[in-house]
C-alpha cells in the first residue's frame, strides 16, 4: 500500500491550497491559494518542504486523518487549534511524526481563522491549471475541486526524514494592528468624507466572511457619484464598496472582475491579518503611499525569509536533552524542547 493520508473527518472546510493559480484570471479563473500564505510557508519549512508546496488549509473546526502505508512528518502553523496524535496532545509551529496507522485529530480553532497542515514531501496529486489550490465554488483544483471529506485518500509523495524543527514563539507572525492599504484604484469615486470614514472608523468583521471575501460592518462610506462602475479587474485585497456603503475585502477566492468601485487595496504583507480576523473583531485601515508599500513588501520578505532561517531543532524527550544530543547539534540556530516549547539552547 502506498503512502496516503486518509481523511476520517473533513472538518468545516479543509482544502488543499498553495500560492495560488496564476495566469488564468483573464479567463475568469480566481487566483485562490492560501488565505494566510505566511503561515503556509512556515508549515512547509517546518517539514523541510519548499515554501510553496501545497498544504491543507483548515478553518474553524479541523479534520481528523490517519496515515497509512508508512510514516510521515507533518507540521501545523497559523490559527491556534488544539490537536492530538493517537490521543496525545501536540503543539503547533513544530514538526512531528505520524507513525503508520496513527490518527491526527484537530479540534476547533480558538484564535484566528485558518490553520495549515503541511506534510513532508507534499501530495502526489496533479495540479489543475498549474496549481493545487482548491476553488470550491467552481470545483477547480485540489482534491476533486472540493473540500476534504471522510473517506478521501490523499496520496503522499513522502520525503527523507530530516530533523524535527520548531519556530520560536518570538518569530511567530502576529495578525493584530491596523491593516495597511494603498488607496485606489477608484478612490476618486468616493467623497473626501467617505475616504475619511474609511480611514478613521473601525469596521467589524461579519459572519458573512469566507475565502471569497470579508464583509465588514461599520459606518457607511459615502460614494461621490453612484456605486456602479464599468466592471474591471479585482486583485487579492481589493476593497470594494457596494451601494450600502459597507466595505468588502475581496480575498483568495474572489471573483475576477467586479462592478463596484474599489476604494483601496490591502497590501500583500497584510492579507494574513484580514484572513485571520474572526467575525466580531474589528479592523482599522491605514493608508500608505506606493513607495511606502514597496518598502513594506521588501521588509516583509526579509522578515519572512529571515524567520525561516531561525527554525530550531526540537528535542523530543527529556532524555534527548543529554549532552551527547546537544553536542551533536549542528544546525539551524538552536533547539527548543517539545516539553515546554521554550528554547533550551541557542547559537
Amino acid at each position: 500500500m502506498t503512502l496516503h493520508l486518509v481523511i476520517d473527518r473533513g472538518g468545516l472546510s479543509s482544502t488543499l491550497q498553495d500560492v495560488g493559480r496564476f495566469g488564468c484570471q483573464r479567463f475568469g479563473i480566481s487566483g485562490s491559494g492560501a488565505m494566510d500564505a505566511v503561515a503556509m510557508r512556515i508549515a512547509n519549512a517546518l517539514v523541510g518542504n519548499s515554501p510553496d508546496t501545497a498544504v491543507i488549509e483548515m478553518s474553524m473546526t479541523g479534520l481528523a486523518a490517519t496515515v497509512v502505508g508508512g510514516a510521515c512528518r507533518v507540521a501545523v502553523a497559523g490559527a491556534a487549534m488544539p490537536m492530538s496524535v493517537a490521543g496525545r496532545r501536540v503543539d503547533g509551529w513544530r514538526s512531528f511524526d505520524l507513525a503508520e496507522g496513527e490518527r491526527l485529530d484537530f479540534g476547533a480553532i480558538s484564535d484566528g481563522m485558518y490553520a495549515y497542515l503541511a506534510v513532508a514531501g507534499g501530495f502526489a496529486i496533479e495540479p489543475t491549471l498549474g496549481s493545487l489550490s482548491t476553488h470550491s465554488r467552481s470545483g477547480i483544483g485540489g482534491f476533486h475541486g472540493r473540500a476534504l471529506a471522510a473517506g478521501d485518500r490523499l496520496p503522499l509523495l513522502g520525503a527523507p526524514r530530516g530533523p524535527d524543527l520548531c519556530l520560536p514563539e518570538a518569530d511567530r507572525p502576529r495578525s493584530d494592528g491596523p491593516v495597511r492599504v494603498v488607496l485606489g484604484p477608484q478612490d476618486d469615486h468616493f467623497t473626501a468624507a467617505g475616504v475619511a470614514t474609511f480611514l478613521s472608523a473601525g469596521f467589524r468583521v461579519t459572519s458573512r466572511t469566507d475565502r471569497m471575501g470579508a464583509q465588514l460592518d461599520g459606518p457607511a462610506i459615502e460614494h461621490a457619484d453612484g456605486h456602479d462602475i464599468v466592471s474591471d479587474g479585482i486583485v487579492n485585497g481589493s476593497i470594494q464598496v457596494p451601494g450600502n456603503g459597507r466595505p468588502i475585502v475581496l480575498l483568495a477566492d474572489r471573483q475576477t472582475t467586479g462592478g463596484y468601485p474599489k476604494i483601496a487595496t490591502v497590501i500583500g504583507p497584510d492579507l494574513p491579518k484580514i484572513a485571520q480576523r474572526r467575525p466580531g473583531e474589528t479592523i482599522r485601515f491605514v493608508a500608505i503611499g506606493a513607495a511606502e508599500a514597496a518598502t513594506a513588501v521588501r521588509d516583509h520578505h526579509r522578515l519572512a525569509t529571515g524567520r525561516l532561517t531561525r527554525l530550531r531543532r526540537v528535542a523530543r524527550t527529556a532524555e534527548d536533552l543529554d549532552s551527547a544530543f546537544l553536542l551533536g547539534l549542528d544546525l539551524i540556530g538552536g533547539v527548543c524542547s517539545a516539553l515546554d516549547g521554550q528554547p533550551v539552547e541557542s547559537t
Binding site: 494603498v182 477608484q186 464599468v230 479587474g233 486583485v235 506606493a290
Partner: protein
C-alpha cells in the same frame, strides 16, 4: 503611450497590481485598445510579470513587486507606443451553436413580450449579429459580449436568480453573454443554452476557448442537435467552429 487618445490613467491596485485605465465606458474601440495593450505588455516578457487581465476599459497588470518594482513598470508602460488595435482580419471568429427558448431559454418568451416581438424575431435578431468578447470575467469562461441589437436591450431582472444553468446564453441591459460551464448566480434574462464549454479543465490542450477581443456569432440549433453536441462536448470536443473574421 501617446497618440490621439487621451493619456491612460495609471492607478495602483495595491503593491502588486497596476490598473491601466483607458476609459470608463463600454465601447468596442476602447476595448480593442485594451486588448492590444495587453498583447504589447505580454510581448515584453518582463521578469516578475504574473499576468495581464483585459477588461472592458482597462488592463489590470499583476506583478511581483520584489522582481518588478511598480515604479519601473509604470515607466515601461508610459514609454510604450500607442497600442494598435487588431484589424478585423486579425480577429478570431467563433460560431457558437445555441438552442433558443423552451427549457434551454426560459426567459425568451418574456424578452419577446417586453419588446412586442415574436419569439422567432428575437432569435433572428440575436443570431443575426456579430458580437465582440469585451471580457471574460466573473466566473470561469463567462464571456461578456458587446454588439447586442438595440431592439433587444433589456434591463436586468429585479430578482437575480441564485443559480442559473451552465452554458446559458443571456441578455443583460445592452449586453449578451455566454455563461460559464458552471451554474452561476445571475440577474440576466436566459434566452438559450449552448453545448459549448468555454472552459473545460479536462480539455488539456485548450482549456479555454474565448478571449477578450474575439468575435462571436450564434447559430440556432434544435433540441436534438443540442443534446448530440452536449455529448460530443462531454467527450472533449470543442463543438464551436473557429475561423478568422471574413
Amino acid at each position: 503611450m501617446t497618440g490621439d487618445a487621451p493619456a491612460p490613467r495609471l492607478l495602483d491596485a495595491g503593491d502588486g497590481g497596476l490598473v491601466i485605465e483607458l476609459g470608463e465606458t463600454i465601447d468596442d474601440r476602447l476595448n480593442a485598445t485594451v486588448v492590444a495593450l495587453a498583447a504589447a505588455i505580454e510581448a515584453l516578457a518582463l521578469p516578475g510579470l504574473h499576468e495581464v487581465v483585459p477588461t472592458y476599459r482597462s488592463l489590470l497588470v499583476l506583478f511581483d513587486p520584489l522582481v518588478l518594482p511598480a515604479a519601473r513598470l509604470r515607466a515601461i508602460v508610459a514609454a510604450l507606443p500607442p497600442p494598435r488595435p487588431a484589424s478585423d482580419a486579425e480577429r478570431r471568429l467563433w460560431r457558437v451553436p445555441v438552442c433558443y427558448g423552451g427549457a434551454c431559454g426560459i426567459d425568451l418568451d418574456d424578452v419577446a413580450a417586453r419588446h412586442g416581438l415574436a419569439t422567432d424575431e428575437v432569435v433572428r435578431l440575436h443570431a443575426g449579429a456579430t458580437y465582440r468578447v469585451h471580457m471574460i470575467g466573473f466566473a470561469p469562461g463567462f464571456a461578456y459580449l458587446g454588439g447586442l441589437p438595440t431592439a433587444l436591450h433589456t434591463s436586468r431582472r429585479t430578482d437575480p436568480r441564485p443559480k442559473t444553468p451552465a452554458r446559458s446564453v443571456s441578455i443583460g441591459g445592452r449586453q449578451t453573454a455566454v455563461s460559464s460551464p458552471l451554474e452561476v448566480p445571475s440577474g440576466w434574462h436566459l434566452i438559450g443554452r449552448t453545448p459549448v464549454r468555454s472552459y473545460d479543465p479536462h480539455r488539456t490542450s485548450q482549456p479555454f476557448l474565448f478571449s477578450a477581443g474575439d468575435a462571436i456569432r450564434f447559430e440556432p440549433i434544435d433540441g436534438a442537435t443540442y443534446e448530440r453536441l452536449c455529448r460530443a462536448a462531454e467527450a472533449g470536443e470543442i463543438v464551436a467552429e473557429r475561423e478568422m473574421m471574413p
